[in-house]
Structure formats: structure tokens, C-alpha cells
Amino acid sequence: MRSPPIPEMATQEVQLNETLAHLKTESETLKSKLEEERAKLHDVELHQVAEKVEGLGQFVMKTRRTLKGHGNKVLCMDWCKDKRRIVSSSQDGKVIVWDAFTTNKEHAVTMPCTWVMACAYAPSGCAVACGGLDNKCSVYPLSLDKNENLAAKKKSVAMHTNYLSACSFTNSDMQILTSSGDGTCALWDVESGQLLQSFHGHAADVLCLDLAPSETGNTFVSGGCDKKANVWDMRSGQCIQSFETHESDINSVRYYPSGDAFASGSDDATCRLYDLRADREVAIYSKESIIFGVSSVDFSLSGRLLFGGYNDYTINVWDVLKGTRVSILFGHENRVSTLRVSPDGTAFCTGSWDHTLRIWA
């Protein structure tokens, strides 16, 4: 006579729950210890240090170009290293390469999926990468032959198990870094499509990433729906640092030009600055009248200004050092989904759900 297996399973389940609870308490204790350690070296606030810095005067920035041509919401854009070309992607599956200065469209590709949430320009200017709901990242070499169908030369590089939220080339055309709704980031070799390194640690969708401009060039930061921003070592795949102070999903992360800090924008309507050497959050950029989430952030060339694109159709410009808002820019007729400063810092571009892109200077 065999005893029913149910009590055995029950004990196993109990054991598993115990382990889970044990791990949770260990994680919590370590986290609070970490916060204590971080607080020990925090001897001054950023705005105090910035008191001696001159304030910024009147700020005038206007839309200098409006790029019309997308048939649906613009979801993502990226600049080319030549400082005037951009690539943009939209919900209807179209990826367009523009010469933003003349507002001419130079290339157009139709992706087989809708919601192309990520696009990136290759450093050489000869290719673009894009992806979205197809869970893949594909690279299209840009050909100037008008008769050539760009889609024919497409190369599928990355393969995730959920949507692609962001992609970026590393220092060359040969490697791509991607982040996905499956909670992981990954580094791929473009030539072979091989996975070089994968990065696990986020507990929910990863929404954004940015590569560090550091001398050794080996790290990047990612932000996700688990409210965490993680800094990773590209070589080992390990998470070096982690920051969890936001109250909602982190939609955008961007490094400070020196590489010693990064800013993040979140659905909790704040942007925050995290210092990597001090290992803590050092500034919060928020205002009571701003109640909509931030979709995208970027720094000006000197790092003095932080531009944020918000879901209430506006762009807020922040003084990074003093923590105050310098200006608010109106113009878009729907939420701003993406914002990038040009490589030489002469302007920044925003893409919006109102189907247009605007260049501001």
C-alpha cells in the first residue's frame, strides 16, 4: 500500500517557501546595510556645491525643423555621427533615414512587424539597426542605389523571447547591445548573429540602455520596469552596481558626458542623477506641477542641462547642478516618446506620438 504522494509534495512546497522567505530576508538585510554604507560618505548635497555656480539666464529654444512623413506614432530615433542625419522608427513598422538639415528622406524600410520600439544608427553611418514586437534586432545596410530594396539585405542579429525595447551599436558596426521585455540585455556579434554575452538581473522588462563614454569603454547602464537601474560589465556579464530609488518604471537612462554619472527618467514624473563613484542618487529633478511620466532624457554637451521629454507633450529643461527647471518647451501635439541631443551638441531631436519629429536649437 503506497501512501498518497500529496503530503510529500506539501513538504517540498513548504521547504521552497521557507527558502524563498529566507532569501528575501537576507536580500533585505543586505540592501539596508548597503544604504547605510552609502550614506556614510554623503557629506554634501549637489545644490549646495552648486551655489557658487552662476545661474542660467533666459533660455530660448525653438523648433527649427519639423520632419513629417511617418504615418503613425514615432517611437524611437538616433543621430548619425555626421551630426545631421537621423533614423527614426514608428508604430506602423516604418523606419526612415532623414537628412534632418534639409528635411529630405533618404531611405525608408518597412519592417514586417508593427511597433518598432528601437532603432540605432551605426557609427560608420552605413547601416541602421531596428526591432520591436518581432523580438528581433535586424541590421539594414544603407544602400544609395534607389532601385535596391533595403529589406532584401536585412540581417537578423538579435533574438529575444519578448519585445525589443532598445538597441545600440558599441564603438563599431560589429557589435550590438540590446535590451528586451524578457528582462535581459544581450551583446551580439553582427557578422555571425552570435550571442557574445547576456546580462541577467532585472526582475521585469528592461526598457532602456546606454553605453558608458569611459576610457576603458566596458560598461553600460540599463533601466527597467522593476524600478532599478543596473550598471553592467560587458566582459563578464556581471551587474557591478544597482540603484533602486525610483517609484515607477524607468523609461530612459543616459550617461553624463564624463561617464561618472547617469540620469534616468521614469513614469513617476521625476528625473534622477546617480553618481557612480559615490554609488548613490545625488539629485532629483521634479516639480509638483509635473504630473506626467518622463519618456526620454539626454544631456547637453557640457552636462549642464538635462532635457526631458514628457508624456504631457512637453519638454522640460533642467539645470543639472542647481536642480531647478530652466525652461519648458511646447510644440508637440501628443506625448514625446524619444529625445536625443546631436553628437556635436548643436541641437536636440524629439519624436512624438503626433507622427512628427522636431529639431530644437
Binding site: L20, K24, E26, S27, L34, E37, R38, L41, H42, D43, V44, L46, V49, A50, V53, R64, R84, F101, T102, S124, G125, C126, L142, L144, N171, M174, Q175, G181, E191, S192, G201, A203, A204, E215, C225, Q238, C239, I240, Q241, S242, D260, A261, D267, A278, V282, K287, E288, S289, I291, L301, R304, D312, Y313, L321, I328, F330, D344, G345, T346, A347
Partner: protein, 475 residues
């Protein structure tokens, strides 16, 4: 958004409300658009434009609705009356706006006054009638019941309830199928669902591991880090076009690409700002092709050029094609690391041993340690000496300071925006013909002409100021 609404309705600090007249009935607890704007301005210390914007959002999302023209979902800064929507109807309460409810609402409207339904509502009514025909009796019965119950209320209350319901349905079933609002709400829900904390053992273990590592790391005092930001921003302020403008002018504003032409990858004479930047950090020098070339020339004079060549070769391995790694590593070993190599680099023995060991199984990062060693060697030793050298000082002296372009003499003539050769094309040209400077060929004539115009116009508009001797015409 709801925090704002709750603050507005606070009895002490909130909006002052009064009874508004709507036709002949008095509606309690209403406010004018002007009141809303003023309250926002006062409470949040913002300007009128921003208050209009925030208030407009509150109306668009249905937290406040207009009494007079319910279909016009805008906030007017005048005597137009508005009311707060009850929390029951808030979009965040996620009361699913089901088809059945909408059908009941339309049926009520139809019964109450024949011909009251708008065109789009009539369409939807008949569509729903077809779709949920099996429950139509229920729909009509519910509608009749609700109408009967409302007749028992005071007229003012009845109008208020009707307005609230109408406002709710205008948001959730907008007349023109404006997908933006609907999709944005659905996407919001999707994103919210994603915020579920994964409690699996794997994730917790990773977290614990990274916490432990973090506890062991060295931290720097806040005062030192934050000073760093202030210094960096100060140093780069003059180089930030958005902060200080750029010379001769910002191409996006003036439609003149002279700034880009003067600062393209390879130019005969770089600008002063560019050469100054090389002194900010070693990375700035190496990232600039002209800077790197100058540094190479300097190292050749010092007989240590192999360091920079080695560093470049390592970069090539790290960022190049996977298939070529093995070959490249072999070449680097032959040229730089093998005993008696032509361009032997001076690495400490520990790093050398580690690298030689790694070369047996070459991979992308096998040269990292050696590369870093040489990088810091150059940074600490050769770089500071280069900045003090005559080579650098001469570069700085003959660098161009472009004249600022005054506002155009003929303000009504817009400059023609010239296109530039695509980088994709430039690369194919280089592979076909050797040694052509990228982009300089085609754009040459246009930029020269526009420089000429600049020269003339700046000369005309500046009084008594002769152009600097470091003139842009030196070729």
C-alpha cells in the same frame, strides 16, 4: 494626476466653487475655467501657459468636464463653467467601459429624447444592437429602470449625473476613433502589469550576490564627486553650443553649414576650441582623428610611436569582426609582443605573462590588460609632455577662431539648404579611390562660396573690425 484633483477639492486650500447657472437651473459645486487656471498658477508657481496646459490635460482625461459644451474637451480661461468628475468615473478606477454599459447609456439617451443621439452614436447603437441582440431586452429594461429612478431626483442632481455620465462616455467612446487616447490607456495598463516583482529564487540570488559585491566596493565622498561635476560643466561650457552658441553660427538656426565644414573629421586647420579640447583629457585627444595624428607625430619624434600603434591594434581586435580575431591577435603578437619584435612594447612581466598565456586561446578581450597598461603609460607620461611641447603650442597658435556671423544683411532671403554626401556613399568612394578626404570633395565648392558670403557680410556689418590674421583663407 489624481493628487492634483484631490488638492483642488480640499475644502480649505482648494478651489473656491460656487453655484453656476446653466440655462435656468442652478448647478451646485461648479467652477469657472478662469478659477482653475488661477488656482494652478498660485499653487504650483507656474506661468499661465503651463497652467493652461496642465488644466487642459485634466479635462482631456476626464477629471474635469465642461458643463456648457460637453463635446469640446478643452479648458477655457474664462467664465465657462466646469465640474469635477466623481471618482466613480475616473479612468484609473479601471471600471471597464463595457459594451453593455455603453448600450444602456445610449438606450437611455434614445428613450429620453428621440433624435438626441448624434450620428456616430446612432451608428454604434445599431451596431451594438446587432452584436448583443440576445441581451437587448435586458438593455432596454435597465435603461428604463435607470431613467425612472433618476426622475425621482431633484432636477439639479439629475442634470449633474447626466453631465457626469456624458463626460465619461465622451472620453471612453470618443466620436472620431481617436486611437491615441484609447491606446495610451491600454499601454498604461500593459506597462502597469509589467511591474510585478518577480520573486523567483534565481532573481533573489543574483540580487544578494550583487549586494555583497556592492558592499565591498570603494566609494568616494560626495563632496569630491559633486565638485567634479561643477568642474566638468565649467570646463566644457564654452564648447556647448546650446549654452554658449557656436561660431560662426549654429547651422540649425542660420541654415549655414560653415560650422560643420570647419569642424569636419579632417580639415587643413582645426578650430581653436577643438585644439583646446585635446588638453581636457587623453580620451578627447585620441577620439579626434586630427588629435590622434598629431600625437602620433609627436611620439615618432620621441621614438615611442609603437605604443599608440599597439593601442590602436588592440582597439581593432576588441571592436572588429569576430572572424578576424585570431588573425589579428597573431599579427599583434608578431609585431609588438614577440621577443625581438620590430615594434616591441614595454609591458611589465606579470601582464606580459598573462597575455602570452591568453594568446594560446585567443578571444576578443585577450589584449585588454596589455592595452590598458600601455594606455595608462601614454596618459601619465607622453600625453602631459605633448601638451607642453612646441608641436601642440604651434597647433593652438595657428588654430582658427571663426568670426561670428551677424544676422543676415538681407533678412528676407533664406539661405538654401544644401545636402551633404551620405556617409554610406563616402565610404564606397574611399574604397574605390585611395586617399580622397571624406566628404571634402563634393561639399567643397558650396562651403567655399558660403564662406565667402559670410566673410563679406560679416565684414560689412562689423564696424571698423578687421578680420583676424588667422584668416579662414589660409589653405
Amino acid at each position: 494626476m489624481e493628487k492634483v484633483i484631490v488638492a483642488m477639492q480640499d475644502p480649505d486650500m482648494g478651489m473656491k466653487m460656487r453655484n453656476q447657472r446653466l440655462l435656468i437651473t442652478v448647478i451646485p459645486h461648479a467652477m469657472t475655467g478662469r478659477d482653475v487656471i488661477d488656482w494652478l498658477i498660485q499653487k504650483y508657481n507656474i506661468c499661465e501657459e503651463e497652467a493652461l496646459h496642465v488644466g487642459g490635460m485634466l479635462v482631456r482625461y476626464g477629471y474635469i468636464y465642461p458643463l456648457k459644451e460637453p463635446r469640446s474637451l478643452v479648458l477655457r480661461a474664462d467664465e465657462t463653467p466646469y465640474r469635477f468628475q466623481t471618482p466613480y468615473f475616473w479612468t484609473s478606477t479601471r471600471w471597464p467601459a463595457s459594451e453593455l454599459d455603453y448600450a444602456i447609456y445610449l438606450a437611455k439617451k434614445n428613450i429620453r429624447k428621440q433624435g438626441e443621439l448624434m450620428e456616430y452614436e446612432k451608428e454604434r447603437y445599431s451596431l451594438l444592437h446587432k452584436r448583443i441582440n440576445h441581451t437587448w431586452d435586458f438593455v432596454v429594461m435597465q435603461a428604463r429602470e435607470q431613467l425612472r429612478a433618476s426622475k425621482q431626483r431633484r432636477k439639479a442632481d439629475r442634470i449633474v449625473l447626466e453631465c457626469q455620465e456624458q463626460a465619461y462616455w465622451l472620453i471612453n467612446r470618443p466620436p472620431v476613433r481617436s486611437l491615441t487616447l484609447h491606446y495610451s490607456l491600454t499601454l498604461c495598463v500593459c506597462v502597469c502589469v509589467c511591474v510585478c516583482v518577480c520573486t523567483c529564487v534565481f532573481c533573489l540570488c543574483l540580487q544578494i550576490e550583487s549586494c555583497r559585491r556592492a558592499l565591498g566596493r570603494n566609494r568616494v565622498k560626495s563632496s569630491i564627486c559633486l565638485e567634479g561635476f561643477v568642474k566638468f560643466s565649467e570646463q566644457y561650457q564654452n564648447h556647448d553650443p546650446i549654452m554658449q552658441g557656436c561660431l560662426p553660427s549654429n547651422p540649425w538656426i542660420s541654415d549655414d553649414t560653415a560650422h560643420w565644414t570647419m569642424n569636419s573629421e579632417i580639415v587643413p586647420v582645426p578650430t581653436r576650441l577643438r585644439v583646446e579640447r585635446w588638453s581636457f583629457s587623453f580620451m578627447e585627444l585620441l577620439n579626434d582623428p586630427i588629435g590622434r595624428r598629431e600625437f602620433m607625430t609627436y611620439l615618432e619624434k620621441e621614438f615611442s610611436a609603437e605604443n599608440l600603434c599597439f593601442w590602436q591594434a588592440c582597439e581593432d581586435i576588441r571592436h572588429g569582426e569576430s572572424s578576424k580575431i585570431i588573425q589579428k591577435v597573431e599579427d599583434v603578437y608578431k609585431n609588438f609582443l614577440a621577443p625581438g619584435a620590430a615594434r616591441w612594447v614595454n609591458i611589465d612581466s606579470k601582464t606580459m605573462d598573462k597575455t602570452l598565456e591568453g594568446i594560446k586561446h585567443p578571444h576578443r578581450f585577450v589584449m585588454d590588460d596589455a592595452q590598458l597598461h600601455i594606455y595608462f603609460l601614454m596618459k601619465k607620461d607622453s600625453y602631459p609632455r605633448y601638451l607642453k611641447s612646441d608641436l601642440y603650442k604651434n597647433m593652438l597658435a595657428k588654430a582658427i577662431v571663426p568670426q561670428e556671423t551677424k544676422k543676415s544683411v538681407f533678412p528676407f532671403m533664406r539661405r538654401q539648404r544644401h545636402s551633404s554626401p551620405s556617409p554610406a556613399q563616402a565610404v564606397t568612394q574611399v574604397t574605390e579611390e585611395d586617399g580622397r578626404a571624406m566628404g571634402a570633395g563634393k561639399a567643397g565648392t558650396n562651403s567655399e562660396f558660403s564662406l565667402f558670403i559670410l566673410f563679406i557680410s560679416s565684414h560689412i556689418s562689423s564696424t571698423g573690425r578687421a578680420p583676424s590674421s588667422g584668416c579662414m583663407w589660409s589653405k
